[in-house]
Amino acid sequence: MTAIIDYGVGNLFSLVCSLGAIGEAAEVTRDAQKIAQADRVILPGVGAFADAAEKLESSGMRQVVKQAVEAGKPLLGICLGMQLLFEKSMEYGEHFGLGYIPGQVLPLEEHLRERVDIPHMGWNRLTLTDPRCPILEEIRTGEYVYFVHSYAGFSCEPYTAAVTEYGGVPVTAVVWNQNVFGTQFHPEKSGDVGLKILKAFCRLKAESSGK
């Protein structure tokens, strides 16, 4: 069973449906015991970093996620959930994340070379920088996934498994550190490609995800 962390952030209907579509049992929960029993954990999220980080803390879920990761369970952060895996974010002030991915979350606008729309919204191509990443097992460079974001992970190259090109620079798309994974895009909104990524994640077990 895959536990989807419920900390009051984001729309989980599609995520639950997409896991259902690949035959994976999923439960949206904030029950520490259920999460401890789950095979793997998904950290969703949309909105602002500071607000989500605060809700993760106040709901007690920060500690629960930490225990799951320490127990070796695979963790997947999606969109803002991925950004929360970083050490810190500079979205409206300096805020601290979970610290699993060394690096920081910064506004896209200040780091792009060309003038383009912000948010980065739409389907964009993946370039795999570390094809060994288990959740990208069935994905090849050039496949399209759906992005919606105005901030992105930076200075995380050793932990980057895929990037996408936007505004003339590579933008972090997938991060990976041992049993912790993150996708900046929404796999649950990325058609068949996204379902393949979720399927690969749902095949992972506590013992088989080491880097």
């Binding site: 948010p119 919204m121 739409g122 389907w123 649950e188 990325s190």
Partner: protein
């Protein structure tokens, strides 16, 4: 680079897809869930569901359609029509919508944009605007194009983006239903005023109109249309093939 999006729009009334020709004469077309699935398989990049029901019963049918669609199709869904309060946002987001489009509701209460952006994030709030030329300037119209607000469209759109709209759908009432191409002059002026994604709506009659849109205004993010897709006059796979051959980046 991010690809240009092709977005079919489904107007839903009492659980069925309909399309108004210049906002009049609605005809029944098809089951929205089947149609949505067909479009998703054909390569639609996103879908817009527009709820044109007024009754509470029709509203329940709409949320049912939305739930069934979101449980079968895994591409972004935008929902609009009758969104006036944060409760309306909550109602459609909890049924599988990813983005919510506001139109008349935001004109009557602009704070709706900032409140929704604060609660759900800018990426969730789409400002949809019906615009028509009146004495040489662009006016915003209310209620599906029946009432002239006298508001200047570019000022209103700029204000909406400042308040937190993460995307704009511009529907030109001057070209809507005419099928002679998108309103390039109007779109160009609006795009120059904003730096969030802009979606063109109103006027597409054939595949070449999309080519013309993205060639004339390369900063455009997406083109939206309804009846040409519903009636099979433009098939999405051949449309995307044509765009690609013309050097326009699309997801194929």
């Amino acid at each position: 680079m991010v690809t240009k999006r092709i977005i079919p729009c489904l107007d839903v009334k009492d659980g069925r897809v309909v399309k108004g020709i210049q906002f009049q004469n609605v005809q029944g077309v098809c089951d929205p869930v089947d149609l949505a699935e067909r479009y998703s398989k054909a390569g639609a990049d996103e879908l817009v569901f527009y709820d044109i029901t007024a009754s509470a019963e029709g509203r329940n049918l709409f949320t049912d359609v939305l739930q069934r669609t979101a449980s079968r199709i895994f591409i972004p869904l935008t929902v609009g029509g009758g969104i006036r309060t944060l409760d309306d946002f909550e109602r459609v987001l909890s049924c599988g919508a990813d983005k919510v489009s506001v139109n008349s509701g935001a004109i009557r209460n602009p704070e709706l944009i900032s409140q929704a952006a604060k609660r759900y994030g800018n990426q969730c709030v789409v400002l949809s605007v019906d615009v028509k030329r009146v004495n040489g300037s662009f006016h915003v119209f209310l209620n599906g194009g029946r009432v002239d607000t006298q508001m200047d469209a570019i000022e209103w759109i700029r204000r909406g983006v400042d308040m937190g709209a993460g995307e704009v759908v511009l529907n030109s009432m001057d070209t809507d239903g005419v099928r002679k191409g998108f309103d390039l002059a109007m779109l160009r002026q609006v795009k120059q005023a904003i730096s969030v994604p802009l979606i063109a709506s109103g006027g597409a009659g054939k595949a070449e109109d999309f080519v013309e849109l993205f060639q004339a205004i390369p900063q455009m993010s997406a083109g939206l249309a309804a009846s040409i897709f519903h009636f099979g006059e433009v098939e999405i796979p051949s449309l995307k093939k044509m765009l690609k051959e013309q050097g326009i980046e699309v997801r194929v």
